[in-house]
């Protein structure tokens, strides 16, 4: 194998796309060619840096809403979808692309903003559940789970001071089978939220806590989204979202234990 062949094939090697035979050929060449080896090292470094930079974008919630609402709705979104064309024609999209894209059905920026602001306020729990699950998935990327890693609740709680406009309750449930791992600041649809991280066996549980708007007490919600279980409830002016790949029964147990331990709580609500 010469260098110009290797020049292409080192990429396939890097990407794990070579069969055993070719892998051997390329490795043989690399063993005797400093230039190609250096090149491979540089590309590997570049790739590593790109992975660490986490270049993937998250679709904004308003876009998700827009798309969900434009789909024929089998469930409770049906009533809302019926209104969508009306909104769409009232407010044309700010930049119509000279009509390039299907702007007619696009929800107005105003409506989208209303949805977006109400992260913990909106009735569209399913959309929020999607955001919560996305945040959960992001947290599982290497190095993203915790900003502060400790099983000591008295360390985690003050860490949030000054970082949020609420003081999230941090409850140690280690003795009850849910190990406190730590906490981090997270961002759900541009709203800063506290994430308290627990672990049950190998399952990570993210408990997201944010301020609940006044009078915004919502009924509890329990659902499964893309294989993750999501639970929601609100009390004491706070909205809680628990998400995990843990089975539903154990996640319910987790939520009950959190609720039972909340300050001012005398056995659930």
């Amino acid at each position: 194998m010469n260098c110009s062949e290797a020049e292409i094939l080192i990429h396939a090697l890097l990407d794990g796309e070579l069969d055993a035979g070719h892998t051997r050929d390329v490795e043989d060449h690399l063993a005797g060619c400093a230039k190609c080896s250096k090149r491979l090292a540089a590309f590997r470094g570049m790739r590593q840096a790109m992975t660490e930079a986490n270049l993937k974008e998250t679709a904004p919630l308003y876009l998700r809403s827009r798309i969900e609402e434009s789909l024929p709705a089998p469930t409770r979104a049906a009533a809302f979808a019926a209104q969508a064309p009306r909104f769409g024609t009232l407010w044309p999209s700010r930049r119509s692309f000279a009509g390039g894209f299907a702007t007619g059905i696009i929800l107005s920026a105003a409506v989208a903003a209303t949805l977006a602001i109400g992260v913990f306020r909106s009735d569209q729990n399913q959309l929020i559940a999607a955001e919560v699950v996305s945040a959960h998935l992001r947290s599982l990327q290497p190095g993203h789970l915790t900003d502060i890693e400790t099983s000591d609740q008295h360390t985690v709680k003050p860490w949030f001071n000054g970082k949020l406009d609420v003081a999230p309750p941090v409850i140690d449930l280690t003795a009850q089978g849910f190990t406190l791992v730590g906490g981090r600041l997270d961002d759900i649809n541009d709203e800063a939220v506290a994430a308290i991280v627990y672990r049950r066996r190998n399952h990570v549980i993210n408990l997201f806590i944010a301020q609940q708007p006044s009078g915004g007490r919502r009924s509890a919600m329990s659902e499964s989204h893309h294989g993750f279980n999501v639970r929601h409830w609100s009390e004491g002016g706070l909205g809680f979202w628990a998400v995990s790949d843990l089975n539903g029964a154990e996640l319910d147990e987790f939520c009950q234990k959190v609720r039972a331990s909340l300050p001012g709580q005398s056995g659930g609500a």
């Binding site: 020049e7 292409i8 094939l9 990429h11 396939a12 990407d15 796309e17 230039k35 250096k38 090149r39 090292a41 540089a42 590309f43 470094g45 570049m46 790739r47 840096a49 790109m50 992975t51 930079a53 986490n54 270049l55 993937k56 974008e57 998250t58 679709a59 904004p60 876009l63 998700r64 827009r66 798309i67 969900e68 434009s70 789909l71 024929p72 709705a73 089998p74 049906a78 979808a81 019926a82 969508a84 064309p85 769409g88 024609t89 999209s93 700010r94 930049r95 692309f97 000279a98 009509g99 390039g100 894209f101 299907a102 702007t103 007619g104 059905i105 696009i106 999607a130 996305s134 893309h226």
Partner: protein, 200 residues
């Protein structure tokens, strides 16, 4: 385009009313299959369109088209299928703009300042190791690549597609994917090193 808008409006009106039965079932299947890939679609759209609002519109159009054609979808992998539709939407939009009389909007399309970012700046320092760059810098470097190469880098490094899936999205043979990717990475690396030089 106008026809498309009208079609979409009719489509939504129609489906908003008849949301039960087969149609609801089909929509449910579509949701479950396609919505999990929304972030991937959005990521690709951001890099292809290089504008947030354009990306929003492209992704929305992509999902509408995908639903229209969902009946003809025969698997196996929905992600490349969806991204191929998105790519077509973006390319159609660029083609449409190209046929428009020169408008100010085209000013942000490949401005001259982009060029030196990826062109071989100086004798390439083969031995130089890649230094770490923050996400924003890397995004800009990727965004400055010519479209064909930008696309293959994003599909491979960010969307995490296999060569076979990239070939399906771009509609080219795997061999072409390999040579484009090699070229794209070399360009990106040159730009990376050049940027490093500028950042001193």
């Amino acid at each position: 385009m106008l026809a498309r808008t009208r079609h979409a409006a009719l489509w939504t009106a129609e489906h908003g009313i008849m949301s039960a039965g087969d149609d609801g079932e089909r929509a449910k299947r579509f949701r479950e299959a396609a919505l999990p890939h929304l972030d991937d679609a959005y990521t690709l759209a951001r890099y292809l369109m290089r504008d947030k609002t354009d990306a929003d519109d492209a992704v929305q159009e992509c999902y509408l088209r995908a639903l229209d054609h969902f009946d003809s979808y025969r698997g196996p992998a929905i992600k490349p299928w969806l991204l191929a539709i998105l790519r077509n939407v973006c390319n159609a939009e660029f083609a449409r703009r190209a046929t428009q009389p020169a408008a100010p909007a085209s000013a942000d399309e490949a401005p001259a300042t982009d060029e030196h970012l990826w062109q071989e700046p100086q004798p390439s320092p083969e031995s130089e190791l890649i230094r770490h760059r923050d996400g924003e810098t890397i995004r800009q470097l990727v965004a400055a690549l010519p479209p064909t190469f930008r696309e293959v880098i994003v599909l491979r490094e960010i969307n995490n597609l296999s060569y076979r899936d990239i070939a399906a999205v771009a509609g080219v043979p795997i061999g072409t994917v390999m040579s484009r990717l090699a070229r794209a990475r070399s360009m990106l690396r040159a730009a990376w090193n050049a940027e490093q030089g500028r950042a001193k």
